[in-house]
């Protein structure tokens, strides 16, 4: 035990070769998981979202409007129903994402300048899909309206830019900053993978520790110098887990070529802090619980819902205080802020220091862990001395 680090590394390697499960977790499993998570979203942006139309008008204009919806690459007119009831049944079965009702007299009313009302019911239970469908529909309706207004303006004798001005008084240009194509894969995957990585760090650390617990018992493994035993045990995994972090960064920003506007150095340094911080939390839980199954249950409770708290889907500023407190206790929520600030915003290095400092604070968790470990060792040694 009390030998030079390179021998320890050899020992850990030997140890890994014998544990097929742990070996998988530090080699091919993370890579497969990262690839799977990317592959789920690899389509990038939803296309051909299915919609249904109830055409109560059956006019040339209503048919041209339906074709106009269908022409939008985001939408596909999947079904047409004769009655609203049938349409609603399909909507309830989630066969279509939205139901559009074109009222009777649509064309006639438009011609005499009494705007008919098109009603769109969209499925907001699948919120993301629903919202994307609704905004695509609004966009289609907008261009259709502009076409009609422009035609009217032409027929009233306005020409060129003025006819357009009459149809669309204000143009709008919408820019998705830092994610120009509003690629959904990029947005979700860059956050889901770090959440997965945090789970990986905690689980690998705990499984490696559990093996010592199983093979030689906690106190005999901790020995006379628990801090040294713990650090010697953890550091090879720190490096491997850090390497996993590097791998997914390379995958996202080099292989897939997503925008990387900031400093690799800062992100990598933050990753190292992230690994150590998560390992700190893991070892603290471990010496408190001292049981492989129970500590993994706690780790599950602690890390599994991280993604919800990271503030990437739902903004952290809109979370209530208890949620913000829980969020602060998760290393990955500090890490992700640095990754986003650096990779997408291209922020300066100094602006990431507060989050890096927070991660450094997590490393303090090692101290109580050492103290508890020391106490455990002392406790188990005492009766032994009495016997002697």
């Amino acid at each position: 035990m009390n030998t030079a680090p390179n021998i320890l590394k050899g020992r850990e390697w030997h140890f890994l070769k014998k544990d097929y499960w742990l070996m998988s977790l530090v080699t091919w499993v993370p890579i497969c998981l990262f690839i799977l998570l990317w592959y789920i979203f690899s389509a990038g942006l939803p296309r051909d979202l299915s919609i249904a139309v109830v055409d109560l008008d059956h006019s040339q204009m209503s048919r041209s409007l339906i074709r106009h919806y269908d022409a939008n690459p985001m939408l596909r007119v999947e079904r047409q129903f004769a009655s609203i009831d049938e349409g609603q049944t399909a909507l309830k079965a989630a066969d279509v994402n939205a139901l559009i009702i074109l009222p009777s007299q649509l064309e006639a009313d438009t011609r005499i300048g009494r705007p008919p009302q098109v009603t769109v019911f969209y499925n907001a239970q699948f919120l993301l899909t629903g919202k994307l469908t609704a905004s695509a529909l609004l966009q289609s309706q907008g261009t259709f309206n502009a076409k009609i207004s422009a035609m009217k303006a032409y027929s009233q004798g306005k020409v060129g830019i003025h006819a357009l001005g009459a149809a669309v008084p204000v143009n709008s240009q919408i820019t998705a900053l830092f994610n120009i194509s509003s690629n959904y894969a990029q947005f979700l995957v860059t956050a889901i993978i770090p959440a997965m990585w945090q789970i990986l760090i905690v689980v690998v650390t705990l499984l490696a520790l559990s093996r010592e617990l199983r093979l030689q018992g906690l106190t005999s493994w901790l020995g006379n110098n628990p801090a040294r035993a713990i650090l010697a045990k953890l550091w090879p995994y720190t490096l491997i887990l850090w390497l996993h972090g590097l791998l997914f960064l390379l995958g996202m920003y080099v292989v897939l070529g997503w925008q990387m506007n900031g400093s690799w150095f800062i992100i990598l340094l933050t990753q190292l802090l992230m690994v150590i911080a998560s390992q700190g939390m893991a070892i603290l839980l471990f010496v408190l619980v001292k049981d492989a199954v129970r500590v993994l249950s706690l780790a599950a409770a602690y890390t599994a819902p991280s993604f919800a708290f990271m503030g990437v889907t739902f903004p952290a500023t809109d979370m209530a205080l208890p949620a913000r407190i829980w969020r602060e206790l998760l290393p990955v929520s500090h890490y992700i802020e640095v990754q986003i600030a650096q990779a997408s915003h291209g922020a300066t290095a100094t602006s990431s220091f507060p989050q890096m400092f927070n991660l450094l604070l997590f490393c303090v968790a090692f101290l109580p862990a050492f103290l508890i470990a020391k106490r455990l060792v002392n406790k188990s040694n005492k009766p032994l001395k009495v016997q002697i």
Binding site: P115, L127, N145, K152, I192, D318
Partner: protein, 386 residues
């Protein structure tokens, strides 16, 4: 050993195992409060944006007031240039910007159509869509106002002008989650996944625990019992346990979070039974494949995020690559999430989710046979070991 004895033995090993109890009852209870916590406010509001007003006219100032008045947006500050605004976004974490071009008012009067530029930070997608929503609604109101005043200038009566500013009106109505709230969106689906995952862990712990005991040389009732009886007894016990937990989730929790409950209880049970059985049998399989209890947690933890995103409620199933789509269909959670959402949140009739129910029954039968085979194999290995 008869079925009743086996039932008692199984109940005892489940209810005397603190890890199983902690996962099943503790986990389900804990997550029911923790998971909805970040979304308690339902909708993001008042996102801070920076305005670059290059026009500085009455109209541009009015537009800024209109944008600020929307519930989605709060105008936090003004910048002199787009560059400066960009700096505010990267350095101070503002969520978006609005750029009103030079001569905006004059171009409008001339009947040219000037361009308003909005931008939102799309590294945070919900923030982005909130900003776009707020800005387009303010921009749309402004545009409508301009069309109305033009019609008035052209001699239309006010009443008509207000009517005719657009050729076709659109009424967008969100259904099933009428407030488009985030809790209502995430919780009904995630809770089904939580039931699925905790059930898998419990059975894997049970199975691996018995394997560990066997390896330690301890024999047990599970080696004497008939494998079919063991499979059926476990299925029955977990139906009892998980129906109670479902009553808690779909009854108390949904009521607590004000989530719609449109389905009749008997319809929910028709879906719940094959779901619980398929999950239970999958859990038995996992329990036979892992050598140690802690690996159960590991497998389930790693599968949670992929299962969540493959289930088709965040990311549409039609957009999944084919291999991922079929992979997702192997797990009971996928069909169950789709089925429960349709029944309970969307008000579908039971016949409309028939294929999902059938899918779960097929899983039940296939997983049932595999778990039977694995349990027989274990008995065989143990008896030859002796």
């Amino acid at each position: 050993m008869n079925l009743l004895q086996l039932f008692k033995f199984e109940l005892r090993s489940i209810f005397t195992d603190p890890a199983i109890l902690l996962t099943v009852f503790g986990g389900v209870l804990f997550y029911s409060f923790l998971y909805p916590l970040p979304y308690a406010q339902q909708l993001p509001r008042e996102q801070s944006v920076v305005v670059v007003d290059l026009d500085n006219s009455n109209l541009s100032r009015e537009l800024v007031r209109m944008v600020d008045a929307t519930p989605q947006i709060q105008v936090n500050r003004f910048a002199n240039s787009i560059n400066q605004a960009g700096q505010f976004i990267t350095e101070d974490g503002l969520a978006g910007m609005l750029v009103i071009p030079k001569n905006f008012y004059r171009d409008l009067l001339l009947g040219k159509s000037p361009t308003l530029s909005y931008a939102g930070d799309a590294s945070y997608f919900l923030v982005y869509s909130t900003i776009v929503e707020g800005m387009s609604s303010a921009g749309g109101t402004l545009a409508a106002g301009i069309r109305i005043s033009r019609l008035l200038i052209e001699g239309q009566a006010m009443v008509l002008a207000e009517e005719q500013y657009t050729p076709l009106k659109v009424n967008l109505r969100p259904v099933f989650n009428t407030t488009t709230g985030y809790v209502h969106y995430v919780v009904p689906a995630v809770f089904v996944l939580i039931l699925h995952q905790t059930c898998l862990i419990a059975l894997a712990l049970l199975g691996a625990g018995q394997t560990e005991k066997n390896q330690a040389g301890v024999s047990g009732y599970w080696l004497n019992a008939d494998a079919w009886q063991l499979v059926i007894t476990r299925g029955f016990i977990f139906i009892l346990i998980y129906l109670v937990l479902m009553m808690f989730y779909f009854g108390f929790s949904f009521n607590f979070y004000d989530i719609s409950r449109l389905a009749a209880p008997q319809d929910l049970i028709v879906l719940a039974i094959p779901f619980i059985l398929a999950t239970t049998f999958l859990g038995i399989i996992i329990g036979q494949l892992i050598p140690r209890r802690e690996l159960a947690m590991m497998l389930v933890l790693f599968s949670s995020l992929p299962l969540l995103f493959m289930a088709g409620f965040v990311w549409p199933s039609s957009m999944l690559p084919m291999p991922v789509y079929y992979l997702a269909q192997l797990f009971p959670s996928t069909a169950a999430i789709q089925g429960f959402l349709r029944l309970n949140q969307m008000g579908a009739e039971i016949y409309q989710i028939q294929t999902l129910i059938e899918q779960l029954w097929v899983q039940t039968i296939v997983f049932g046979f595999i778990s039977y085979y694995l349990l027989v194999r274990r008995k065989h290995i143990q008896s030859t070991a002796k």
